[in-house]
């Protein structure tokens, strides 16, 4: 019987030691494969693999309110907060409480063994008592010190645990601010000639010498360089949603509303049967080819493009549409609504 008790106590000591050793938490972060995960200190700690979930280990002595996600090729680092739950770490607290009496019990066993008063006349329990007692004392002391230190770590001290599954906020598309501030002018800055030409009838000629060489002209209000104005409008057509190349939904009533921000940038909103397809509009920059075709690129997602031909026919392609954690491709063909 005493030998069984010794075995039990030795096992308990082993468990005590185990609880005193673990000092970190591993969480899983879901997102688009290829997305990089950064700490607030700008250390890259993970890249989301093809499975869509990355494992990250957080030390118990550090508090992180958030991490950041970053898509390669983009300038944006998007914070996502780390959710947490209350956790009393009852096991560790109980283990610390038990470590003191365990150490004392172990010492008593060593003493009893050494005095050869373990109760067996042949002294057969002396060895187990000394050996077992030593193990239990060592475990008790080690456990007490280690657990005392651990329980001072931030996570244990403030009794919280991060949720084992977290997710990024990369489904948000962020726009760029429109700066309405006045533009500083600096003295002696050479003024560029404007393309606009003054009507020379009774008024001073324009600053451009080329205009003077052309002789009398009439001023047009048209601005051929305002790409934003040229592509703005509502485009109506059809579309489809694909997952891994296979069509999952088709749309017969799609509207793509393009609003001018400035000469080279527009805000694009997509509506399907009257409902907004995305949480927010997207900002696209515009390039115009010599053929008269416009290519619009989405800020932060270079593979998402819109082409608008000279005849105002639109082809819309967005390969990174995040719907409930899955990445879809949205294709639209539309024409400018007159």
């Amino acid at each position: 019987m005493p030998k069984n008790i010794i075995k039990f106590l030795s096992l308990a000591a082993a468990i005590l030691l185990f609880h005193s050793c673990t000092t970190s938490q591993t969480i899983s972060i879901a997102g688009t494969p290829g997305t990089e995960i950064y700490t607030p200190d700008k250390d890259k700690i993970a890249v989301i693999p093809a499975t869509g979930k990355a494992k990250v280990r957080i030390p118990g002595d550090v508090y992180y309110a958030y991490f950041m996600s970053h898509q390669v090729g983009s300038n944006e680092f998007v914070p996502f907060a780390l959710d947490f739950n209350r956790c009393n770490y009852a096991g560790k607290r109980a283990a610390r409480i038990l470590s003191y009496p365990a150490a004392a019990l172990g010492a008593i066993m060593v003493g009893l063994g050494a005095a050869n008063t373990a109760g067996e006349e042949d002294g057969s329990l002396r060895g187990p008592f000394i050996g077992g007692g030593t193990i239990i004392t060592a475990a008790g002391i080690t456990g007490a010190i280690a657990l005392h230190k651990q329980l001072k770590q931030t996570q244990l001290r403030y009794r919280y645990k991060y949720l084992s599954s977290q997710s990024t906020n990369e489904d948000f598309t962020f726009t760029h601010p429109i700066d309405n501030g006045f533009i500083r002018t600096v003295k002696n800055e050479p003024q560029r000639s404007e393309t606009q030409v003054e009507n020379s009838e009774g008024t001073p000629a324009a600053t451009s010498t080329a205009a003077r060489r052309r002789g009398k002209t009439s001023t047009a209000t048209r601005n051929l360089r305002d790409n934003g104005k040229q592509v703005a409008g509502t485009y109506v057509g059809t579309g489809r949603l694909l997952l891994n190349g296979e069509e999952v939904e088709s749309y017969t009533d799609i509207k793509v509303v393009v609003k001018r921000i400035d000469e080279n940038n527009v805000l694009v909103e997509v509506y399907e049967s009257g409902e907004a397809f995305f949480n927010t509009g997207d900002k696209y920059s515009i390039k115009k080819a010599s053929s008269g075709k416009f290519t619009l690129s989405l800020k932060g997602i270079p593979s998402a493009t819109i082409t608008i031909s000279k005849n105002k026919n639109m082809v819309y392609l967005h390969p990174k549409v995040n719907i409930e954690g899955e990445i879809y491709t949205l294709e639209i063909k539309a024409s400018l609504q007159e």
Binding site: Y66, F84, F172, D179, T280
Partner: protein, 288 residues
């Protein structure tokens, strides 16, 4: 005996992590910020870079873009706070190791502007300090302009041609920083300048003719947003953050912005590692 032990250890004060709100705010200048498409003009003689810390302290770094020595008169350079109170950059009552009770603190040493800007690389809004906007002007190298040293806390200081220096003091702005984002519920994603809860200005007097005549560059700032969302459901801070993103769609692209995740972690305890409960990003420029 075991029960006694359990009882004893359960009587201590329990600390439990509490995250009440997630707060966001951004600051703009009255004038438009330079961009790679519209950089600081070549003929601009002075440029100033402003950074604001998570506690709402503003630092001004002056760039002398000329081939002449620039003299800065700190007695005639001021910070005007939201409450209208004006403080000179040279204040003989504020010593080098000033206390936190003062609204201005004299700094020493050097600062890394790239780190303050939250810049991760070259290009785009995040990389503006290093390239594209012509910050240092002709005669500077790219790496030199991203570091600055505080000038001496003297009435007048000189900047060598094509060099820079951080004004000797930093000032705490009323209404900006973690303390302003710690509680409540606010939904102001876009605030016009006239309606802002925080206006402040910095005036810097400088001379390019050895102190014979002085000019002044005046920069007016205002807070153009404030969004504070309570954390509903213990620990669900990301949901509150997502509400901020949904409310302010250009949140992470503002010229200067900060996020704060309020919590009750004791920052004074050396074992608690700091800096992981806020995010500050961006810098503001002025020039003339």
């Amino acid at each position: 005996m075991l029960s006694a032990f359990l009882l004893l250890t359960s009587c201590g004060t329990k600390k439990v992590l509490n995250a009440n709100v997630v707060g966001y705010q951004s600051v703009r200048t009255r004038h438009a910020q330079p961009t790679p498409e519209r950089p600081i003009p070549k003929s601009a003689e002075i440029a100033v870079v402003y950074t604001i810390s998570e506690t709402g302290e503003i630092t001004a770094v002056v760039y002398n873009r000329t081939p002449n020595t620039m003299v800065i008169d700190q007695t005639k350079s001021f910070f005007v706070n939201t409450d209208g109170k004006s403080t000179s950059y040279y204040d003989p009552t504020v010593r080098t190791t000033s206390s936190t009770s003062s609204s201005s603190i004299t700094r020493g040493g050097s600062i890394n502007l790239g780190a303050l800007a939250g810049a991760f690389g070259v290009g785009g809004i995040l990389g503006r300090i290093a390239s594209g906007i012509n910050l240092g002007g002709a005669g500077t190298t790219g790496t030199a302009i991203t570091n600055a040293t505080y000038v001496a806390d003297q009435p007048q200081v000189s900047l060598a041609p094509h060099s820079n220096g951080a004004m000797s003091k930093v000032f705490s702005i009323i209404g900006i920083g973690k303390d302003a984002l710690s509680e409540g519920e606010v939904l102001l994603p876009e605030i016009p300048e006239q309606q802002s809860y925080s206006h402040f200005s910095i005036y810097i007097s400088y001379s390019l003719d050895d102190g014979k005549t002085f000019k002044q560059i005046a920069t007016d700032f205002y807070a153009n947003s404030k969004v504070i969302v309570p954390v509903r459901g213990r620990g669900r801070t990301n949901e509150a953050l997502r509400q901020i993103y949904a409310t302010k769609q250009n949140a992470i692209n503002e010229y200067w912005w900060m996020l704060y995740f309020s919590n009750n972690i004791d920052k004074n305890n050396a074992s608690i590692k700091a800096g992981h409960d806020f995010r500050v990003q961006g810098i503001l420029f002025d020039y003339q």
